[in-house]
Symmetry: D2
Subunit: 374 residues, 4 copies
């Protein structure tokens, strides 16, 4: 149906990709997100291509490299950042390692003079995240956090509708991101590698989503955490977190995330004259949008079918475009820092039982780069 | 499709109906809920019929009486409770007046020796509600609160599924009940008649729903209220309320209600092995149920089509059955008292900014009558 | 939500109801359609009430009469038409007997001077149907055929949209009405009582629907019948019928009905600039409407939520209104005659294997009364 | 979510791709299907990669080649089949040219010793299609027709369910494929290049779908064609075609296709104990499956969410697997020949007004290769 314009393909320089370390993959190498989503998504990217791989599993890396047309001499181990630095075909590095290693790899990439696209959560703490911003600034490289939902078309449409004022103001946001997390030995259930449990991994989508939909930052946070008694998976990280955010314009966001609830990834906004339901809002695919509103004197449900586009490809293209044009990414390092500040605030009432007030952040999109073109 | 068995029809005695007073109806008489829903629903009831009308608008009452086969001498004004008391055909009274008048009318009905079905919220305060329970006990009449969702088939199915344990335990409940409330002069926006704003009118469905689904009572409540600045409708009652309930078994309910958001009446439960989405959970009709779970090694969505039944008719038949058999209603006065206790608790953090802890209520369905037959 | 105006209630005269004879109900009396749908629907009717019952099962009739407020002396057996004739409270009779008895009962009602609402199919043959039209004309009473879908709001909306030209012209109509018909001994599987099998019982909805949606009458009919070998239920009536209708303006309708396929009752119209999907189009309830079209440069799905109304109540009110105002019903006897003419044409190619050409019927709604008010 | 195993990647030989000629693209080069769907889909293929391009637009081809990692010396013009023949990296050719050129390009590819995947419809006539089968047989190369729906997971699931007998037998199939075809000058509206109008282009999906779902071949065909008067687009090809197919086991398929109706691509099967609705059955993406059936004593709707997979990638992998293992494709040239035989039969009643009887084809999947692995 839709065609793709093959112009503006950057064939001279391209995006590299680090290797995810997944303990539960038994050292076998490239992780599920990279193999299942990111690498195939390059096929749909107009401006980016994969030019190199970073991996400590050379055999696996060779197979993947062959499949995706990466030259054998563009496979690097993690002690070869210097060699990567010397490869002029690699413009940027996409860091897809465990959260606790993001800081080290982002700093290494910056030192190598490469722009960096970093998976979310950006780091384990706000302090680490700030350090990464500073390092990239000093190195003169772009730092973008991979908040893919802000590039995904259904979320973008919903954000545009909420902000348009067409349906009045948002009173209530409900965001829920849950999944069943599997066995205890994986890195996501180890605080040192993951930086937390359901909150930074999946609750972050609710937090970042509520902020992106409203364009505001919260002035109050209340939260509660619950862990199933005796479940060893939650010895160092939280299972279920529910938090309520109050925004300056009155919107209240009710957010929930859990590692022990069947997969759900939905977001709903209750506005004065409509409600929006973004189905699979935080999932890799399968998004939908339902708009309930009055048409004439009757209730109607509308579901736009937005032209298909892979959200990872859009994210990669946006990042590449920022590199090519010098533009600031929509989700720069500062966006990630602010989420870490807020997650640290969320953990407080979960412990103390008292809500936390936050200074109002003036303006809209205070931590973001320029709006994306429609 | 479905047939109806005409046996067990109570043709000797029946349920009367009080007249709703609606200021915004300019004294025109019988209110929207009675005329649009309750009276037509008697057509689908197997055990109850309308035998009398209470109204201060005799002309309107005569027309309605003719339409529904009520004898002209069975129309009563509000100073004729004594005459009503003497009518042996009237077994019970359904109080559908403004909240602030429930206490007076329930007490009058009890004094007249009639059983009472009282619309929700039961009263304006927990103290009033307790007084009504005592009065009906003393008079030896049944008191039931019209929590119709506990009789509505889709909610009942969802409740049964949550409690069955088939899908593990409930981690998160999201309940949202919003509507656009219209002009300032209506009784629902006057604290003296309504007892509050969005919370007792529509937020109560979220509260009662979360309690009914889990069968538990909350041990902690946090809440926030927001009123649109300068909107005269919210001079004495609240517009938007969001509250978080923590239940003993770990379930957290995120509840929201608003008088300035487009109509939505949804309830979702996130369990360990499924999520349930009850569409139009709190509406007069149009309920649906979606169950997302894994079947084999894939995700599936199931939507049972439950045999049609009017929820008002089911409620009326349950009440009539309790009268006939002496059974305690599933939603007796005590159920309404407990919701008033909790609503008073919810208003506290909304003012103080600090969550309120509540004593654990032991057991399941602590304030309810016996479970309904399947 | 929606209120109902109690004005214009006809309290002086009302609609009676004949008793369905259902062999498979073992003489127990009033049938499923009457008890499950029509009698409860009177509760939602604004202009009609049930004033009498016709039945040969006096015990059952007395119970039903008590439930619906019918006076005991207004229960008639089938040899008491003369007594019914003398009851001035009965303005009309709704004939809900087996198809093969419609003619006799319509003629009796006409002779008794009562207007007649006759269930579909009107009769067993076009000749019978014509005789009924003539008899009612001579008796000066109205004859309406209970094509309830033409009064049901979702179908009416779809009809209005198709005819508006807003979405261009209809190219294809797909209509499917299937159900699993149960054991052999019921009257619907006996040609003498039913007049045919799936075609007159459920395929008629597809035929009448295609005619009502377009407003046209077909100029060519092709059809095929299939019966499962050895199934005794289909000894005298057909199981599955598929037919193709060509309309003068080019629309082609693909219609299917079966007694051995899981229940489905859908209708879809493929127009130049939209398609309409009327879900549960022919069912007693649960209708929906999906409109797929382009909005701007993208595909969108719209689902209006049309204000709830019981289709049987609307049908009864329309008929009562025609009696009160002298207006011709939208679906008079002539509409039923034409469907019988067409069903006889449909049986021909099913036998001969050759399509049948029909004379073009000029104009729109050639056999119908005035359009319903919006 | 799902990972992809990078084993078994054929890195030594791969699939080439011919250039679509599209008159309405003004010689601009590679067509919409190739650029928008097939080339990006290689990213998701496990066994196939694009190794060469055939094109007469060298500039455009160079840009595309760079984007997809095709070496510059692997771009061929249409008079360089001999040079392509000498490229050992190219194992096969995917012919995506206008229908009327399929025969020439398939014969050229076979002569060059390359296996051929040919877009549907296979040719302009059954005679051409047979010639292509013979040529590939003689050259010892595989010939597969790109009936992608037979590889697409939702259609495959529906086919498996229909054939499983779990829901009884199929009584009715409704298949509809419509779109608005655009201006007159495109090749699809020119009989010489397209071989026909809506029938071979989109109606073929209904025909092939009905055959694939049942596994049978029809014994009778009836059809009607309608062209909008005065529309120059339909001077040489048909606009709207409706056809009825009778299958040996009693299933009747009602099929419709139109070039002047809003896009719809649905398929429904009415079985004894369920109905299946395959949404977007024939589209590039967005498939869904609804299964309506009884569960216990109530109606239920089920929607499996089948693991995502690009249907073009699956098709390419199946074809590659057949090349590697010597297996016969599921949809070999013979499958395409049979559809041409049937389309020629469909055109007959459209002209003569009389159904056409066909000899029964014994067995299931008479023209197909072995069933796909589950």
């Amino acid at each position: 149906m839709e065609g793709k314009e093959p112009n503006a393909i950057d064939v001279g320089r391209a995006v590299g990709l680090t290797r995810p370390v997944r303990e539960n993959d038994a050292g076998a190498g490239l992780g599920r997100l990279s193999l299942g989503e990111i690498l195939p998504a390059f096929g749909g990217a107009k401006k980016a291509r994969v030019a190199a791989l970073l991996s400590n599993s050379p055999d696996k890396a060779r197979v993947v490299a062959a499949q995706y047309g990466v030259r054998p001499d563009c496979i690097y181990s993690y002690d070869e950042w210097h060699r990567l630095a010397g490869n002029p075909e690699v413009a940027a590095v996409y860091v897809v390692t465990p959260n606790g290693m993001h800081r080290e790899h982002v700093l290494a990439a910056a030192e190598a003079g490469k722009h960096v696209l970093c998976e979310k959560p950006m780091a384990n703490t706000a302090a680490e995240a700030r350090e990464m911003v500073v390092a990239c600034d000093r190195a003169g490289v772009k730092l973008m956090v991979a908040y893919r939902c802000q590039y995904e078309p259904y979320n973008r449409r919903a954000i545009a509708l909420v902000r348009s004022g067409r349906y009045g103001t948002a009173r209530i946001i409900e965001a829920c991101n849950t999944q069943v997390q599997g066995p205890a030995e994986q890195w996501r259930l180890r605080a040192a590698l993951a930086g937390g449990g359901a909150l930074p991994d999946i609750g972050l989508y609710c937090l970042n989503g509520a902020r992106a939909y409203t364009g505001e930052d919260p002035v109050e946070v209340f939260a509660r955490i619950w862990n199933p008694p005796g479940d060893e998976r939650f010895a160092t990280v939280e299972d279920t977190v529910a938090f309520m955010l109050r925004f300056p314009s009155g919107t209240i966001a009710q957010c929930s995330a859990s590692y022990t609830a069947h997969e759900s990834r939905d977001m709903r906004v209750r506005l004065g004259e409509a409600w929006l339901d973004v189905g699979n809002a935080f999932a890799y695919r399968g998004q939908s949008l339902r708009i309930a509103r009055r048409v004439g004197d009757e209730e109607a449900m509308e579901s736009p079918v937005i032209a298909h586009a892979n959200q990872f490809a859009l994210e990669l293209d946006h990042f590449t475009d920022c590199i090519q044009t010098g533009r600031r990414p929509r989700t720069p390092g500062e966006e990630g820092v602010q989420d870490h500040v807020l997650m640290e605030a969320i953990y407080q009432p979960a412990r103390s039982g008292r809500p936390v007030s936050l200074s109002a952040v003036p303006g809209r999109d205070a931590f973001r780069g320029p709006a994306l073109d429609e």
